[in-house]
């Protein structure tokens, strides 16, 4: 019998959630190893419980953050040297040795994944990309001009290994590459078994709702971008009233500036957003964000038509999705084909106020 063992790499909570879901659906008949990494620091905390569930044959931990950081800025010669030593590097950064796999599921085209592609290049091992938010729908990571890595003979070998992209909404994909898009089954919110497993892994305990209006902050400050997001937060808080409004800080931003400026109460919960959505009743809850993928998760992953206000039309700042025509097209397509009637994209600040008031916000003045 040919080897049917699978490996799933998860770099974030969102990816881990999808990994567990894939394990229980499309990969339920296979032996599956899970590789969680330090790209998201909190993932390591979930490792004991992941093991306890025995969902995966093995749960491997990888310290790949430094590796990714190092080689992305190296010159071609150093990159080549790194790719020549993949076997040794893997031994250093992984908690356990990898097996032989027929398929490897991954979400990011980072150095580590590219090295794995080299490592398994001559073996019969397909690489399957799976959903990682809206970038999976719009970005052709392997296009030659996107990164010098795509011109590197070793780093670009992944192109030969990737066979498909799994997406929750494949019809929304507009990347422009030739990879086939296949459907990932949606996560059903009434799937109590999955919910139970996920809640156990993430040690989720039901909490009180923070507020009726949650603003999902993005990592603009972490990326050194000058934007008007604080003005937008302030506008929302002012319109709905501070008692019903809260900002969920982005973990990569070094400081919680909205909190320091009095634009929000403290958001102290540390549970994954997706788990919150999976467990909580989204009725009367409004998510506000400039363009965070997390705001789309509820729709894409769980199929929840919840109140969502996307502020990207009011956003001022130099960010990729404002300039990239493909991203703009994606947002338009998402809105037209998928968004539903509770999805709002205000085009003026006045329209934003009206929407907030319509959704139950009130002016405290």
């Amino acid at each position: 019998m040919p080897n049917q063992r699978k490996l799933i790499i998860a770099n974030s909570v969102y990816q881990l959630l999808t990994a567990v879901h894939m394990r229980q659906t499309i990969l339920q008949d296979y032996d599956v190893d899970l590789l969680i990494t330090d790209i998201t620091a909190a993932l390591k905390d979930y490792l004991p419980r992941l093991n306890e569930t025995k969902l995966f044959k093995r749960v491997i931990f990888g310290n790949i953050k430094e590796l990714n950081r190092k080689y992305i800025i190296e010159k071609e010669a150093e990159i080549s040297e790194g790719f020549e030593n993949v076997s040794r590097l893997l031994k250093w950064i992984l908690s356990e040795e990898l097996s032989i796999y027929s398929e490897i599921y991954f979400a990011n085209f980072d150095i580590f994944t590219r090295m794995l592609a080299c490592y398994f290049y001559r073996l019969s091992c397909d690489f399957i990309c799976y959903e990682d938010g809206f970038s999976s729908y719009v970005i052709d990571y392997l296009r030659q001009d996107r990164t010098p890595l795509n011109l590197h003979p070793e780093a670009s070998k992944i192109k030969d290994k990737v066979k498909m992209v799994l997406l929750y909404e494949p019809q929304l994909a507009i990347r422009g590459d030739r990879l086939p898009n296949r459907a990932l089954p949606k996560i059903k919110r009434d799937n109590e078994q999955l919910k139970e497993v996920l809640n156990y892994i993430f040690n989720y305990k039901r909490t009180q709702r923070y507020a009726d209006f949650i603003f999902l902050e993005q990592s603009f400050r972490a990326e050194g971008l000058k934007t008007n997001d604080l003005a937008l937060i302030s506008e929302c808080q002012h319109t709905v009233g501070s008692s019903r409004f809260i900002v969920k800080p982005h973990p990569r931003n070094p400081e919680n500036i909205p909190f320091q400026l009095g634009l929000t109460r403290r958001y102290s919960e540390n549970i994954p957003w997706e788990l919150f959505l999976l467990n909580e009743d989204p009725k009367n809850l409004t998510m506000i964000t400039v363009c965070s993928n997390a705001a789309l998760t509820g729709r894409i992953v769980f199929g929840i038509d919840m109140n969502t206000i996307m502020l990207y039309q009011l956003f001022e700042g130099k960010v990729l999705w404002k300039e990239d025509e493909i991203l703009k097209r994606y947002l338009r397509k998402f809105r037209r084909q998928f968004a539903g009637s509770n999805y709002y994209v205000p085009e003026t600040i006045y329209e934003l106020r009206s929407i907030l008031k319509y959704l139950g916000g009130h002016d405290e003045q």
């Binding site: 009637s341 709002y344 205000p346 085009e347 003026t348 006045y350 329209e351 009206s354 929407i355 008031k357 319509y358």
Partner: protein, 579 residues
């Protein structure tokens, strides 16, 4: 009074107690003895009727008085004509005078040459300016009628002419303003036996606040008067008549009645072929320029008032009658459109009691179909609104943050109105929350035309003017108001203005004032010193009064300065670049 009467002088009388005696005396002083004077009191409320009666009592053989209800000048003249027995008839306006020899010389000319009409020159006395000028009717005493119609003066006046009485057996004045223009030039074309005494017998006193110097809604009659002139004149003189009309139009459109320019443009278009093919016009470069107006679209002369489950206020209708007597008023209530003619959300709005939302939709729909100006029942339009018909579309601020939906206008089928209407078919917050139209318009203009929400006048993409709150929402008594909100009753002489607009207005005045001061200081440093006051020398009250006096003095200087007015556009441009 008997059949030997040569000239009947008809004087319509209306509210002229201060001038009437002067007018009548000038007729009594005529050297022509065989005359009669018919005073037609047109329902005056002052002492004019008594003055008339006293004259009749004093000159029973000469003067006859008729008291009647007020119907206007033309009908008063008709009334006088009906009782007149003279061989010829003359008209005198009750605030003007005539030279003593006028009727004797003109009658001599008329009877001697068996003429239908005899005319003279006119002396205009500018009362306030204390100046006079003589308007010669024609350069020569023997004149060519065609040339006179085309190039003469005073053709429209009734008062500088003597008419054979039989003319009035088949003609009469209409009940309208500009009854002279409507009838007299046409008579001149049809009664060819015309003579001319080249003397300025008639004295026309021109004052401020008379019909010829103030505006009212029924002045729109001038269009009908022009129409009558062209349509009833002898076709033989059609070329001259059209050219004569074009000259009158030129004057009215560019000088005296610019407010009615949109109406004149529609009239031009109505007789487009006549004006375009006119040989006189082709040679007259100045007058020919009116044909440029043919290229201009004007908003149709229609006012749209939608009133769901409420009556149109009487005061609203009175304003329409007063200022827009010939305008088509389109009213629509909830039964105007059937349910299947309205989008689902508008029907839902009606069912759920959001009537203003439905009213606003129907207003837009009617505006798209008909073109015109939407004036809601809560708004009160005034005559100035006519000016805005020269736009293809217009909106105005209600305050610094809001666009008014109380008054706005557009051509029929204007794409902006069409696009606004289409937003009612979409899934958006405006329809979900039944938001008011003013928010929809504002956001639409921001998104598509980069409207700056600041309450200031702007022209979006060079084609969509958005006016100050003082134009379409509040009357700030600066002469610019076209329509104002009237949601609450206010005492006579007061204006109800929102606090935000009042603040904005105050800031605007201060901004202008400071700009003026800066300019003044930069050009004439000493001039500013005159405005400084040694407050220590004056009591508080005196100080305040002196301050107000000096401020007023500088403001007057500022507002009246020609240089300031001329350089306004340059300052505005410099300010933009300065930013």
């Amino acid at each position: 009074m008997n059949s030997k009467i040569k000239v009947s002088v008809i004087i319509p009388v209306y509210q002229v107690e201060n001038y009437l005696e002067r007018a009548v005396d000038s007729v009594l002083a005529q050297t022509l003895e065989e005359k009669e004077i018919i005073l037609v009191d047109d329902g005056s409320q002052d002492t004019s009727p008594q003055i008339c009666d006293q004259y009749e009592k004093a000159y029973p053989e000469l003067i006859r008085v008729i008291h009647k209800k007020n119907e206007g000048l033309g009908i008063a003249r008709n009334t006088g004509i009906r009782v007149a027995s003279g061989e010829y008839i003359a008209f005198l306006d009750s605030d003007d005078t005539v030279e003593p020899e006028m009727y004797e010389e003109m009658y001599a000319k008329a009877s001697g040459e068996n003429l239908d009409i005899v005319m003279c020159d006119v002396k205009i006395i500018y009362v306030e300016e204390n100046k006079t000028s003589i308007v010669s009717s024609y350069p020569k005493e023997n004149f060519d009628l065609a040339d006179y119609i085309a190039n003469g003066n005073n053709i429209t006046y009734s008062v500088n002419k003597l008419f054979r009485r039989s003319i009035w057996e088949e003609n009469s004045y209409e009940k309208m303003l500009f009854e002279d223009i409507s009838l007299i030039p046409s008579l001149v074309t049809r009664y060819h036996r015309i003579g001319y005494v080249k003397k300025p017998f008639y004295h026309y006193y021109r004052r401020a606040n008379t019909l010829s110097t103030t505006f009212s809604g029924n002045m729109i009659d001038i269009i009908q008067a022009f129409r009558n002139f062209i349509d009833t004149s002898d076709p033989y003189y059609h070329e001259e008549v059209v050219y004569c009309t074009a000259k009158q139009l030129y004057w009215n459109m560019t000088q005296s009645r610019v407010l009615f320019q949109a109406d004149f443009i529609e009239f031009l278009k109505e007789y487009k072929k006549d004006f375009l093919l006119n040989s006189y016009l082709a040679k007259d470069r100045k007058i020919h320029s009116i044909l440029d107006f043919l290229k201009k679209d004007v908003i149709p002369d229609k006012i749209i008032c939608v009133h769901f489950a409420r009556a149109i206020p009487q005061e609203y209708l009175e304003k329409i009658t007063e200022h827009f007597p010939k305008t088509k008023l389109i009213t629509a209530d909830e039964s105007y459109y059937s349910k299947d003619q309205l989008p689902d959300n508008v029907n839902q709005a009606i069912d759920s009691g959001h009537l203003s939302y439905a009213e606003e939709y129907v207003s837009l729909k009617l505006l798209l179909e008909e073109g015109g100006i939407v004036v809601t029942p809560d708004s009160r339009p005034n005559l100035n609104l006519k000016k805005l018909r020269l736009n293809q579309i217009f909106f105005g601020f209600e305050d610094p943050d809001q666009i008014t939906s109380g008054c706005y206008g557009a051509l029929a089928n204007h794409y902006v109105i069409q696009a606004l209407l289409e937003t009612y078919e979409k899934d958006n917050i405006f329809n979900k929350a039944f938001l008011p139209l003013k928010e929809r318009i504002r956001d639409f203009l921001i998104i598509h035309f980069q409207l700056q929400v600041n309450g200031k006048k702007q022209t979006l993409h060079g084609e969509i003017p958005v006016y100050l709150p003082s134009v379409l929402s509040y009357d700030m008594q600066d002469g610019e108001n076209c329509c104002k909100k009237s949601e609450f009753p206010v005492p006579e002489g007061y204006e109800l203005v929102s606090d935000t607009v009042l603040k904005m207005w105050s800031d605007r005045l201060m901004e202008n004032w400071n700009l003026y001061k800066r300019e003044l200081q930069s050009k004439h440093p000493s001039a500013v010193k005159t405005a400084s006051i040694d407050s220590g020398m004056l009591s508080q009250d005196l100080f305040q009064r002196e301050l107000e006096r000096q401020i007023q003095s500088v403001v007057d200087n500022y507002e009246n300065s020609t240089c300031w007015k001329i350089t306004k556009p340059f300052r505005a441009i410099a300010k933009i670049f300065g930013k």
